[in-house]
Amino acid sequence: MKIFKSIILLMLLACLAFSAPTFPQLNNSRVIDDAGIFDANQEMALDKKLANHETNTSNQIVVVTIKSLDGYDISDYGYQLGRHWGIGQKDKNNGVLLIIAPNERKVRIEVGYGLEGALPDATSKTIIQNDILPLFKKGSYYDGVNSGIDKIILAVKGEYTPARSTNESSSIGFILFPILFIAIIFINAMPKDKDSKKRIIPAIITGSIAGAISWMMFFVLGVSVFIAVIVFLITLFSSKSDWTSGNYPTSGGFSNSSGSFGGSDFGGFNSGGGSFGGGGASGYW
């Protein structure tokens, strides 16, 4: 089972390795205080306000404070972070990020495609100049952020009506079902040979077929390779008796991966997969 776990881990790491700058982790909150400028109560108050707004309008507004921009321009960093996290609903791209880099003394409002009409660059700029920066200059980050998001909410209100969440988040079951289906067919069709060496070629074929099918279904390379390898291993290591007797050899490995896929479904905040195109404005103090 160690092989399974390490391979699954490797796959996940390979998927993560694509992002260019290092981004803070998105947890179940709309306030990601990586730089540590809020206390717990302030964070909760902001999160509550933003959560309220989201239930009313489905707009996702997220406040993020960043320790370091790693030498990136804040506008360059901002849209990549928004895309990386997928803030905003996928079909509406109605996300807004308020990014504060206290060490670089920079702030930015990053606006998703769908809200560029309600929150144009000039409005973002005005909010930064008039509502956020004067308070930041006095050193009160919380008040600045608070009045900033108040104005942002006012600006974007009414642009979208709330949509019932259809819950189309990709669940592991959707991916797992074809894997198991294909694997079981092939295992049943195979000679009952306990020697796993003789299974290598059939296992390779099964794995590649599963990979190809999943490629046609998802068009995601990481997922297809992942499925191909898992099917390969299932076919290679499991004998028919394992399955019929109810002894599922892979349960350890799968529960592990389902944790990392489905874990974000619980709790307060799910990013919807919205995208960003560089709209918004920046300021410095």
């Binding site: 144009p120 973002s124 190809a212 046609m216």
Partner: protein
């Protein structure tokens, strides 16, 4: 004999497995490039649409900066005649001309914005501030759209140049050609920002 047959069948199957999912990649990536190209073109258009207002506002405060203002207007006129169509994407010369025209407008605009630093009254003008914010946002969007476009062309060209996409293209899409990409301009590699 039986073994040879089995091995042959396996090889055939493997080839099918490798190639089948790739069959639609060339047109799919091609459409992808076209989409990003029109997004980029949109952003350039948006910038060009901002210019008449900007020039009029600056003129009100700095009418004797004629040189810079005419440069911007001329550069805009040049850009106005061009669109980033799929034909342009496949024509190195037209593509180069498009890129040069847009770069020309970029540098004329940055010169204009530099000049405005000398006019405190202009800088306090509400209308000008709005236009400046819009211009900044648009330039940023252009940068993002350019990056997306470059990325999509890279993906397309990689598909055409590497196996097995190369074989698929030779078989099914013989007319597909490697596309033009942007080269980083001097203004891009060293962004001059005057801010104090």
């Amino acid at each position: 004999m039986k073994i040879v047959g089995i091995i042959g069948a396996i090889l055939l199957l493997l080839a099918a497995i490798i190639i089948l999912p790739k069959v639609n990649n060339v047109p799919r990536l091609d459409e992808n490039v076209n989409m990003y190209a029109s997004q980029l073109d949109n952003q350039y258009k948006r910038r060009s649409d901002l210019i008449p207002n900007l020039v009029a506002t600056v003129k009100g405060y700095a009418s004797h900066e004629k040189d810079v203002l005419t440069q911007v207007t001329e550069a805009r006129a040049k850009v106005g005649q061009m669109t980033l169509t799929p034909e342009v994407l496949n024509n190195p010369e037209a593509f180069k001309a498009y890129q040069n025209a847009q770069d020309g407008l970029s540098s004329a605009l940055s010169r204009l914005m530099m000049v405005t630093e000398n006019y405190p009254e202009l800088k306090a003008n509400e209308n000008f501030l709005q236009l400046q914010a819009q211009l900044e946002g648009t330039e940023n969007r252009i940068a993002v759209a350019r990056k997306d476009y470059i990325e999509s062309v890279k993906e397309y060209n990689l598909e055409l140049r590497t196996v097995p996409g190369k074989w698929v293209a030779a078989l099914l899409y013989p007319e597909a050609e490697v596309k033009q990409n942007f080269t980083a301009t001097t203004t891009e590699s060293a962004t001059p920002k005057v801010a104090f």
